[in-house]
């Protein structure tokens, strides 16, 4: 069982009204924008389950958009995130999907396009109490909470790539807490997610990117 802090009980400090529909939504948006290089040009949110039915009354839409702009759960700017996004020139849409019901009740798909035209879709679930999980990046199923600092590596599914990644980490004295590999199919695109205790070295992404089989490296600091 993971450690339950007094501030997990007396917390999170958050913009209301709901830890799952507001704080959790902010957190999912925050993690999603860490997966793609900014600045973002356009973001489309598809809401499922309870998110699709109650998102307006819970401010889930403002919270998701605030998270996409890098706001934390206690950031008062969440209330005005529509206006702030419009000022930044960030386009956004929200689409409730009540057809697909075979999902976690608080699920959102976030489709992001940056100014270079790169696209990415991230699926997040809000688990309650502000806890969240990223369960899909593009078409690949993943499992990632953002509770730890993480390196997310998109790479070719080839022998030696994982050994290369772990060597880069061990050279910098990074202690691996969890490590998982997800792939579309054999020899194609794979995602390696390494979670670590404490902060990661800022330039670790540049180091890992040196290998020709590595397509992209994203760092999510705790």
């Amino acid at each position: 069982m993971s450690f339950i802090s007094v501030f997990d009980v007396m917390g999170p400090n958050m913009i209301g009204p709901s830890s799952s529909h507001t704080a959790g939504a902010t957190r999912i948006g925050f993690l999603a924008q860490k997966m793609i290089h900014g600045p973002l040009k356009k973001v489309d949110f598809t809401l499922y389950g309870s998110f699709s039915r109650t998102y307006k009354g819970h401010g889930t839409d403002r919270a998701l958009l605030g998270g996409i702009m890098g706001f934390s759960t206690d950031d008062m700017r969440i209330r005005n995130s529509f206006e702030i996004a419009e000022k930044k020139g960030l386009e956004f849409t929200f689409t409730p999907n009540e057809v697909e019901t075979d999902l976690h009740p608080n699920t959102v798909d976030i489709h992001m396009v940056n100014e270079k035209g790169q696209e990415m879709t991230v699926r997040g679930e809000s688990l309650g109490g502000g806890k969240v999980r990223i369960v899909r990046i593009n078409s690949v199923q993943v499992d990632f909470t953002g509770d730890y600092s993480a390196v997310i590596v998109i790479h070719q599914d080839k022998p030696g790539v994982i050994a290369y990644i772990t060597k880069c980490l061990s050279d910098r004295n990074v202690n691996i807490a969890f490590m998982r590999l997800f792939r579309e199919s054999k020899g194609e695109i794979a995602y390696t997610i390494v979670e670590s205790d404490g902060q990661l070295p800022e330039d670790i992404g540049d180091t890992i990117r040196q290998n020709i089989n590595i397509h992209e490296v994203m760092i999510v600091q705790m």
Partner: protein
């Protein structure tokens, strides 16, 4: 310094001759790998946010996002000021702050989920009222927030604090148990008396269902924060008077969890039963259109 249940917590209090709050604080520093400065400054911030959330709607009432609540705290405050209150100062203030905090929450204001957003008014409601009436310092109030955290941790670890799993008894029930225990320590009670107060609350709120109108954290959530704070105050008073409880806190936590899981899904935050299904509530909320 760690504990898994109230029995182990009380043994630690006895062994070290320390109150529950200090055992919980030490646990955060040692097991949580933190420092005294860091945990104390985080708790200072918790109290700051609690005060803002509880005081601001009294002066400036706000309509909730879903439009079901807003202005209740100001009404209570004016009622108390008029001298017509019937609850007495502590409870009158406690229900005002509890309802105010939910008003802040429902209008996208900043709150501390304690343990959840929907039950965020109870711990600050009672403790801020006691602080004001009995002139406790911020440091004394921050200290007993660790006590509240200890009770909430036990419920989180050994049961649930999610309305979707255990009903409102798991949210406002646990919040009131936390508030009762913290208030008991603040007013000079022993660690055992704190757990009696918490146990009494869970007993008296057993089976309370989670039935938010429109699925929103507004109504009846705000009312239940006011009633939760009063149940907490009564339980603390009983414990401080020396009344003991037949059923200890650990057993009450298990009982709350068992009862919670037996609640039908309609009464666990799905907005399909209870108050949420009342014809007048449906007419007011327009969520289904």
């Amino acid at each position: 310094m760690d504990f898994r249940n109230a029995q182990e917590l009380l043994a630690l209090c006895e062994e070290h001759q320390l109150p529950i709050s200090e055992i919980m604080r030490q646990r955060e520093i040692t097991v949580g790998e933190s420092t005294a400065d860091s945990v104390d400054s985080q708790m200072k911030r918790v109290l700051e946010i609690m005060k803002d959330a509880a005081f601001s709607p009294i002066k400036s009432p706000v309509k909730s996002m879903g439009g079901l609540i807003g202005g209740e705290a100001q009404k209570l405050s004016e009622h108390l000021a008029s001298g017509k209150g019937i609850c007495g100062d502590v409870l009158e203030k406690a229900i005002t702050y509890a309802m105010a905090t939910l008003e802040t929450n429902a209008s996208m204001g900043l709150i501390v989920a304690s343990p959840t957003a929907g039950s965020a008014g109870i711990v600050p409601g009672l403790l801020l009222a006691l602080q004001e009436i009995y002139h406790f310092s911020d440091e004394e109030t921050e200290k007993v927030l660790f006590n509240a955290g200890a009770i909430g941790y036990l419920a989180m670890r050994n049961a649930t604090v999610a309305g979707a799993v255990g009903g409102c008894q798991a949210e406002t029930g646990v919040a009131a148990a936390m508030a009762a225990s913290a208030a008991t320590e603040l007013m000079g009670g022993t660690p055992l008396q704190c757990t009696y107060a918490a146990s009494t609350v869970l007993m008296n709120m057993l089976g309370l269902v989670c039935d938010p109108v429109g699925g929103l954290v507004e109504y009846p959530c705000q009312n239940r924060n006011a009633s939760g704070v009063s149940i907490a105050l009564v339980a603390a008073e009983m414990a401080l008077a020396g009344i003991t409880q037949l059923i200890p806190l650990d057993e009450m936590i298990t009982i709350m969890y068992t009862v919670g899981r037996k609640l039908p899904a309609e009464l666990r935050e799905t907005a399909l039963g209870g108050c949420a299904a009342a014809p007048s509530a449906c007419e007011a909320c327009h969520m289904c259109e």
